[in-house]
Structures are given as structure tokens and as C-alpha cells.
Symmetry: C2
């Protein structure tokens, strides 16, 4: 019996030891499993891309600014388009609609757009001969760029006809604003933020236009009550092409709104705007129209007397160098 | 003896078990320690700031481009300076030296510089009366901006006289290049990267100048062998002000090099460059001078007929609105 009891104790002892060992191994294995889990979690955290640094408001949240620029071949064309494209490159969420007065795209403009880094749509439509300015006629006889701006409106409404860049028009419901920016004016980058949140039609002053230091809306209590202008102040909308922007949804809701090439002098802007808005509902921008952020600058036509002389001697500027328009000099 | 042997076995057994347990515990503890170490390493990795995203070459590693711009009060001044400042804002590591032709800083220019976001130094020096262009005199009779450019050279060499912005000249040993950029030309942003690594004097074509599509150096085998120009091709340096840049160390090493206001027509650039470089050592840029990246555009002087009429009626444009120069209209 004494020996049996000893055996029982021994068995009990061995079983306890085995159990203890088993428990210990399990415990250690469990702890190791948990640590492994933590390690793989941390490794996953490390692989995750870092959070983006604090940024200005998401560009995707901004309404798009569609800038419509008619352009035509001339000596200063490339200089003007370089200067304008660089200004536009400072503006987020902008889509440039560049419309050539030409039968099709020219290499000069296509190359410039491709290198601009801008989101763009390249369009082209030739001004009908009857509407074209004759040699020697002053610029105000026939407004320039009418067909081209209307072509851009067509594209915004139904697409088609793009000869380069983005081919599809804005999808239904796109928030945006449309601005007509000629290629010779001077634009402050601030102007674009003034127009971005236009609900209907927004307006502001334009510098150095109409023989004045500036033309622009007169504002009282936040509403447009008149216009500072010298030329026909009783026009429905005595504003310059550079002095207003239109909300895209409004333009799309009025499919008949376009520019009328036969409008009398100074009435081209009115021919579009009278389809879209009542003058009293114009939205004044640029600190209630007290800040000039766009100027109607005009670039001199360069004199080419020496070029013509050298060309007669067969020593003209190398035509392979793209300096401006490559068409025959006029 | 039999029992003793049993006891020995028992003791041996107990000691082995204890040793085994100890070894197991140590093994588990060691494994846990290693896992803990890995965890704390990973946590440290997570706390470390993420590596900066791939970036263009550190701006600090680039030579500074000192852009010297003389400017004078006129209707288009603000428009021109807005346009130029926006172009310059696209160029990294650039310091704008804006020099007013005025007795002191004007609010228009000071305000524009303050809002430009550029690194700048504001200088001012009035052109002596004898050098000033008379009303009606053509622009080429007397070169404009000579005093102003020389004032900027003085500041680069010894500082002093700044009326706004950075007051201290570049410290000794600064790597940089100096470019004379008038406020009416058109500059492609690409031009500035062409000039940045200038060792002595670099040159390139200028568009729409001298009555030609472009003027510029003729290059053979990477060396300047002549110039394409119509006006006095035998001038020492038949290049336009916008057609060259000078390494800052070279300018500092030749303290007598400056512009000569009495130089004959078309020789102003030569009056500086002849102090600095031999024509054969000019460094051709812009794809061996085959690309035009700067244009000598000129902005028309706006007509103010209507402004004068309205002012006579007491209805002139609000002078509180800054459209351009605020001096009396001429």
C-alpha cells in the first residue's frame, strides 16, 4: 500500500508536471500569437500610404471655370497665347476652350495647347467671309470672334467637333461657370476666384476700355443699379465681353442663348445676356465692383519693315523658327 | 541502496523537470522580448514622419534668378506688372528687383509687390530731367530705364536704398544670374530655366523686335558666330535687352560694368556687355538659339477721349478705383 500510494503520488506528480508544461507552452504560444498579430498590424499600418498633408479645398469640390478664348493667326498670336496660358495655369479647376478662327487646327496652337499643362478643348471654325473684317476697316465695324464663341457654346451644350484635347462636353449636372476671355486682355488670377461661384450672371469692372480708365456696374446696397460707361449707356447690358461670367446650368437651360453677329456696335454682349438675365439680377463681384481685376489691354501690331527688306534680299528670318504666326506677312 | 538509487533518480528527475521548465520559460521570455522589440521598432517607424514625396530638385540647390525690371507710371502700368508678376510666380528661386522711375515708392507698386507672393526688392530712382523723353519724341531717341537698371546693379553689388522687400544684397559667393526684363515683354516660363545655369553671359533669340520676326545669335557647332539683325549688324553686341543674362559672380567681379545712358541708339546693351565678355564666348541657349521664348511685345497706349469728356462733366471714372496709373492723364 505504501508503495502504491507512492506510485499514485508519482503519477499525480507526473501528470501535474505534464499539465503545467502544456499550460506553459500554450500560454507562451498564445502570447507569441498576440505579439505576431500586433506586428502584422503595425506592418500593415506602415504599408498604408501616409495621410495627405493639409491641403486647400479639394479641387474636385470647386465648380469648373470654362474659359472661352477665340484666337486668330497674327504675328503676336503665339506671344499672347503663351502669356494667357501661363496665367490660366495658376487657376485650379479650369478648362480652356480655345477656338481658332481657322478651317482646322494649326500646328502653332496645337503645339502650344499640348505643352500648356492645362485641361483644354481645341475647337476651330472659320469666320464666314461676309463677317470678316476687311483690310483697313477699323476693328469696331465688325465684331471678331462671334462664330468662335458660339462654337464653344455649342460644344458645352452638346459636344462634337473638338479637334484636340477633351472631346466630351460636361456631364449633366456639372457645376461650372463660363467666361469669355480674349487672348489680348490682362487677367489677375484673383478674377477667377471672384467668378467661380456665380449663380446666374456675375459682373465686375474692366480697366482701360471704352476710352475710360474703367467701365463697370454701379452698385448700391449690393445690387447693380446702373453702369459707368461713356458709349451708349442705355444699351441693355453696357458691359464688356471681359466683364461678366455665366453659370453653366443657366447657359444649358437656355439653349437659344448665343451671340448675334449682326448686333449693332457695342450690343454683342447684350445679344447673349438678354436671353439669360434681368439687369437687376446681375451679381456684383470684385468688392461690389470697386476693384479692377481685368484690363482691356491691346498689343501693338509689330512693324515688319526690316523683315520685308531682308526677305527681298533672301536674308529673312528663318521660317523654321516659330516666332509668331507663320502665314505670309501682311 | 535500492531506495537510494530511486531517490537519486527522483532528484535527477525533479532537477531535470525544473531545468526544462526554466529553459522553457527563458525561451518563451526571450521570444516575447524579441517580439516586443520588433513591435517597438515598428511603432517608432510609424511615428517617424513619412518621407517627402518625390520632388523637383531642391529649390535651395538652384542658382537664384535676379530679374531686374524698370517701370514707370502710365495707364497700363498696373496691368503690365500684374501680368509679369504672375509669370514670375511660376519660376522657382527667383528674386524680383523692381525699380520705379520715381522719387520714391508709389502705393500702386508697393501694394502690387506686397500681394505678389514673390521674393522682391523694391527700388526707386528718378531719371534725370536731361535724360527724360520729351512729349512727342519717339521712344528710340533716348533709352528708357537706364538709371533704374544701374540702380539695381548697385544694389546687387553693395545693397542700400531699398524702399521695400529684401534689403540686403546677395551674400558673397551666392550663385545666381541677372536678367533685365522690361515690364511689357512676353516671357515663356521656359526661358528662365534656359538662363539659370549661365556661367558668363548667355544669349537667345527675341521675337518681334527690330522690325523682324525675331532677332538672335547665329550658332555653328555650339558657338555664336554672328547675329541675325537688320539694324547695324556690326554693333559689338547686336542683342536686345531681353536677349541675354549675366552670371552674378561675373557682374560682381567687374564693378565698373554698367549701362551708359549716352550710348548711341542700339548700343545700350553693348555698353554693359563689352565690360563682361568677348562675343565669341557668349553661351547660346534655347536649343542653339532656334527657339523663341521671349517676345518684344508692346502694349498700346489706351485712348482716354471719353474719360476726358466725362471728367469735364464731372462724371469721370472714380479715382478711388485703382485701374492703372493714378497720375493726371496726359
Amino acid at each position: 500500500m505504501k508503495l502504491k500510494l507512492k506510485n499514485v503520488f508519482l503519477a499525480y506528480f507526473l501528470v501535474s508536471i505534464a499539465g503545467l508544461l502544456y499550460a506553459l507552452v500554450q500560454l507562451a504560444a498564445e502570447q507569441l500569437r498576440q505579439k505576431d498579430l500586433r506586428i502584422s498590424q503595425l506592418q500593415a499600418d506602415l504599408r498604408r500610404p501616409p495621410p495627405a498633408p493639409a491641403q486647400p479645398p479639394e479641387p474636385e469640390a470647386l465648380p469648373t471655370i470654362y474659359v472661352v478664348t477665340p484666337t486668330y493667326a497674327r504675328l503676336v498670336q503665339k506671344a499672347e497665347l503663351v502669356r494667357l496660358s501661363q496665367t490660366l495655369s495658376l487657376v485650379p479647376r479650369l478648362h480652356w476652350l480655345l477656338v481658332e478662327d481657322a478651317e482646322g487646327p494649326t500646328p502653332l496652337v496645337s503645339g502650344l495647347l499640348a505643352g500648356s499643362g492645362l485641361l483644354f478643348t481645341h475647337l476651330a471654325v472659320l469666320t464666314p467671309k461676309a463677317q470678316r473684317l476687311r483690310e483697313g476697316e477699323p476693328g469696331w465695324v465688325r465684331p471678331r470672334g462671334v462664330e468662335q464663341r458660339n462654337r464653344a457654346l455649342d460644344w458645352l451644350r452638346s459636344g462634337g467637333g473638338a479637334v484636340g484635347g477633351e472631346k466630351d462636353p460636361p456631364p449633366a449636372g456639372t457645376r461650372g461657370v463660363v467666361y469669355f476671355a480674349d487672348d489680348d486682355n490682362t487677367y489677375s488670377r484673383e478674377l477667377f476666384e471672384e467668378m467661380r461661384w456665380t449663380r446666374g450672371v456675375s459682373v465686375w469692372p474692366v480697366g482701360l476700355v471704352g476710352g475710360l480708365r474703367f467701365e463697370g456696374p454701379r452698385v448700391q446696397d449690393g445690387r447693380v443699379v446702373g453702369f459707368h460707361t461713356a458709349w451708349e449707356p442705355n444699351r441693355p447690358f453696357p458691359v464688356d465681353m471681359a466683364g461678366f461670367a455665366v453659370a453653366l446650368p443657366l447657359l444649358l437651360a437656355k439653349p437659344s442663348a448665343q451671340f448675334d453677329a449682326t448686333a449693332p456696335r457695342g450690343h454683342l454682349e447684350s445679344s447673349l445676356l438678354s436671353h439669360l438675365v434681368d439687369p437687376k439680377d446681375l451679381e456684383p463681384r470684385a468688392a461690389n465692383c470697386t476693384r479692377v481685376l481685368v484690363w482691356h489691354t491691346r498689343t501693338e501690331k509689330p512693324k515688319m519693315k526690316q523683315e520685308e527688306q531682308l526677305q527681298r534680299q533672301g536674308r529673312g528670318s528663318d521660317p523654321a523658327v516659330e516666332a509668331g504666326d507663320k502665314r505670309p506677312l501682311c
